[in-house]
């Protein structure tokens, strides 16, 4: 675990305790998860108890204490997508990836999350994979969409 990278991120936020959430966001982005040594280093340098950091790391959806998969599958379950049938899309995606929302498969290929509103309601139901938006998804097309990603 590269302490240098972690220290650089902490320094970028001036080591301020009020920037704790921002530091964690940058660490999450850098490593794709929050490794325990990173949390210990942050606790030491920002002088914040580890218990508080752990609460923050589990309270907010953006953080993960386990590595995420190569492909981040986000199924929108916002109200507009919901009335257009998002729950069935979620079931289909879950079925096809073998994981439920919040989970990552064993090969670290997919991480599945639900999100509430990506702001493209006209395209609902929406599935976003690795930042790419797939609109007007139906249960019949989810398999085809997922097959594009290895």
């Amino acid at each position: 675990m590269c302490t240098e990278t972690i220290d650089k991120i902490i320094d970028h936020h001036h080591g301020e305790a009020s920037r704790l959430n921002q530091v964690l966001l940058d660490i999450q982005k850098e490593f794709n998860w929050l490794p325990q040594p990173a949390l210990l280093r942050i606790s030491e340098r920002l002088e914040v108890p580890l218990a508080l950091i752990q609460h923050i790391a589990t309270f907010y959806k953006a953080f993960s204490l386990v590595p995420k998969g190569r492909h981040r599958v986000h199924v929108c379950v916002g109200t507009a997508c919901h009335v257009r049938g998002a729950p069935r899309i979620l079931d289909a995606v879950s079925e096809q990836t073998g994981i439920g929302p919040g989970e990552t498969d064993l090969e670290l290929k997919y991480s599945l999350e639900t999100v509430s509103c990506l702001g493209c309601c006209a395209l609902g139901p929406v599935v976003e994979i690795d930042g790419k938006t797939h609109g007007k998804v139906t249960t019949a097309t989810t398999a085809d969409i997922l097959e594009q990603y290895d």
Binding site: N21, F59, Y60, V83
Partner: protein, 643 residues
Amino acid sequence: MPLLKTPAELETFRSELAARRDPETPCISICAGTGCLAYGAAELITAFREELKKQGLDAEVDTRGTGCHGFCERGPVVVIHPGETCYLGVKTDDVPEIVSTTIGEKKIVDRLVYQDPATGESAVREEEIGFYKHQQRHLLANNTRIDSKSIDDYIAIGGYSALCKALTGMSDVEVLEEVKKANLRGRGGGGFPAGRKWEGSRNAPEKTKYVIINADEGDPGAFMDRTLLEGNPHSILEGLIIGGYAIGANQGYIYVRQEYPLAVANFNRALEQAEEFGFLGENILGSGFDFTVDVHKGAGAFVCGESTALMTALEGRVGEPRPKYVRSNIKGLYNRPTVLNNVETWANVPLIINNGADWFTSFGTEGSKGTKIFSLVGKIANTGLVEVPMGITLRDIIFKIGGGIPDGKQFKAVQTGGPSGGCLPENMLDLEVGFDELTEAGSMMGSGGMIVMDEDTCMVDVARYFIHFLTDESCGKCVPCREGLRQIDRILTDITEGRGTEADIATLEELSELAMEASLCALGKSAPNPLLSTLQYFREEYEAHIRDKRCPALSCKELISFHIDPAKCQACLICMRKCPVDAIDGGKNRIHVILQDKCTNCGTCFDVCPKKFSAVVKLSGEPVPEPIPEEERVIVRKKKKKP
């Protein structure tokens, strides 16, 4: 980048920009908001630039990626200036024709222009289109006129003139009085008079004060703030600085969802530009007023949109609301006077300063002045963002602007106010939209999400959906919310899955009262609203679910069965092939039958059966008819008689 140190320098710069910009210069504006980017707007911008170069026109024609135009249903949206010719659903293949025809020959490409579905009439100019005609776009209009990445564009259309007027032409008290007079009420959900909030902070004895932009837009289905932040970040920043001046705060914050990367990037860029130009920092425009802004990203918690939770998160902690009986405009961030307002509220401030409170109060209702941006989504023909004056009726928004319900379906309900709001039925469509009007009807304005629902929407499921959302987002600190919503969620799930009992409605009402009265924060207090409003207006649906185990909207998965009508089935094999669990029996010329014990109710067969046959039906509360005898399943196709 010039550092503008005085009002005169700003005006000189503005005039120089105007002098360099010929309004007759053709400009192609392509909507580059998140929605259109998902439609491929980035590729479109590149295609236009390349095509112009190819046709040797790149020196004479500008292209601009702008903020969201609002007509999301028909994106990508392209508007060509001058002339405001509006093309909808533009693809990269259309680009060469547009450049040759509209830029080159100054003619219209008819097939890309809006056509009224009822009358067939074309509308060439953006403002002639029904969707836009009935709006009043004071906030959103600028989105289409500027490149969101360009501060020059913003200054050219008058940007930062309100800041200049406020800092150098008005006293802080005068600014405050103007905002009070305008009766600007919070656009984030609370509807609290901003001027009164500001005044409380201004008068608080503590010297260090803060102003905060609440950009944690969490209501699912609402993306107004995102559009303003992406499309015109400077306008919000300008409002914030004016607010800081009015109350005596030199430090501003923005708390913005990390799920909005484009908004974060555009706002950060706007901050850098504003610093370079001297609109942030020390002695702004020579006024003696200093101001800086810090950016904090959210990390995925809806509850952080609540003001005390947001402030706790800003302090670097978990976003749990605090039980406070002293308002946060007196004791807020770090226990100091803090004015927290929503993105749209801040965006209104420069307009009020420039045009005056009298202008702002000239439209709206008695208690609700100005305009409101709504995200009109769900079962609606024209999905998108609309800006309307307060006082317009729901009917006009949904039918005149929204184009009504698609696919020939019937309107059932409109939900406003997100998870804190309520569902209003058809007989309330003539309600004039306003803060108090919506609250009295059993809903609320909220941040502006407006979800339209049709006959296929199950209202019990809608209540369950919102409660489930809030159960997931609850911070968990107080019992009525954490435990109460958990039980309400369980009971509503039972009802939608056929396990409802007679006592359930009374229990739901009791738990709702507890949550409303005893919860620590507004999340818990307003959580029962969707449930109570649907009980009020759609009680018969609850009763059908509980007593008859029937979902009248044919939506609840556990209560419906899919059945192929043998009279309509043409044995086309499509549903058989698409069924993910091989639950359809049949063959060529052999009428298909769904094997009920294998069927998982995924609904794929219903979706893929060709419209002309519409052989798949949904049943609820009644037994599925037995399959017809094997002999009758064979289709004998009449051979065409040869002449």
